[in-house]
Amino acid sequence: MASGREIKTKIKSTQNMRKVTRALEMVSASKIRKAQDLMKASRPYARAMRKVIAHVAQASTDFSHPFLIERTDIARVGFVVVSTDRGLCGGLNSNLFRRLLPVIREYQDKGVQVDVVAIGQKAVQFFRRLKGVNLIGSATHLGERPKVEQLIGVIKVVLDAYIEGKLDRVFLAYNDFVNTMTQKPSIDALLPLPAVAAELEAQHISGAALEQSHDWDYIYEPDAATVLEHVLGRYIESVVYQGVLENLASEHAARMVAMKSASDNATKVIGELTLSYNKARQAAITQEISEIVGGAAAV
């Protein structure tokens, strides 16, 4: 059995660890509220935007923007992966990657190249090591209040690649914030838009379906090219931004839960260690007494 002093050091270090995990838990608990507010505030915009885009995809326009055309043979797909910058948030990132890998492998088995744009340090580290995947862009250290401007660079990389025909399909992977206990790893289609519209229809997003069924088109002011370019660019920005906000809220929620269970575990370990420390102490005392008694009897 370990000596009393050894156990005592172990108790001390576990207590210190618990202090750290408690602090992290508290920090996340306060940050999650802010992140959630941010996420909720921008949800109506994202929702309205998706509705407009679903309408645009249904319009029978003469103008053909590359975003609106579904390509039949797919040679290269892109993934925009949103992850966290820091660790200690349970299985949040690994769950997302685990959900993503089979999808990537499936494309690779069909001979399709896979490009990845990583948002967040963890995705950068993961995809840099992953074989057969090209990392074409990254954005890290977005902070507690991500701004759309911080994402424009990486979004442009993807959009340009798509327009030039280097990517035939783009997906967005992020953790959807359901509630504090649940975060759902999600992979949504980003481009081309018919794929998005089909997905929306499958989800029965209210208002996405239009009452009119005959062919119709918008009146564009000033003209279709200018307006659609603007609208589509804004749409991609808003979807990626929303993904980043959801992921941020998910990060804090996951960290809070992970740190809470770490603190609880530390408390349990401390309890067990204290028990064995007391046992060791008692055994030592008992032994000493019996030695004294034995010595006295011998005299």
Partner: protein, 140 residues
């Protein structure tokens, strides 16, 4: 009277949501008055005001700094970059912004800076206009 659903959202919040008799907005090519069963239309918005006429003739005024307007026969959607209720606009701040933008225009030569200053000036002017209109409306 028939009505049209109107949604005004900005990147930060949902600003207005409800039934309207008419919606007036400043499109890129000029003012638009949208009534129920309007033909589908999509346009960019200039910095300016958006008037929503409710059933019973009550008017609600908003200011947007730019964005997108989508019209479907039953619904108008305004995706604003930033939007505020006109009553919440701060006139002093708008005046200051206007002055700053004018100063910047006078002193700077770089093309990007000039464009930036012009955009700011347009926004400040639009805010002031929205305030002006609001004031007139209150007097009536």
């Amino acid at each position: 009277m028939s009505t049209i659903r109107c949604d005004i959202v900005s990147a930060e919040a949902e600003i207005f949501h409800g039934e309207a008799v008419m919606v007036v907005a400043t499109g890129e090519l000029g003012e638009l008055g949208i009534t129920p069963r309007h033909a589908p239309l999509i346009t960019r918005l200039k910095p300016g005001h958006i008037d929503v006429v409710l059933q019973g003739g009550e008017r609600q005024q908003f200011y947007v700094s730019g964005g997108i307007l989508e019209v479907q026969p039953q619904v108008v959607t305004v995706l604003a970059d930033t939007a505020v209720r006109a009553a919440d606009l701060d006139e002093a701040a708008a005046q200051r912004a206007k002055k700053e933008a004018e100063d910047a225009l006078a002193s700077r030569t770089d093309a990007v800076e000039v464009a930036e200053a012009q955009a700011k000036l347009a926004q400040a002017l639009a805010q002031l206009q929205a305030l002006e209109r609001l004031r007139k409306n209150l007097k009536h």
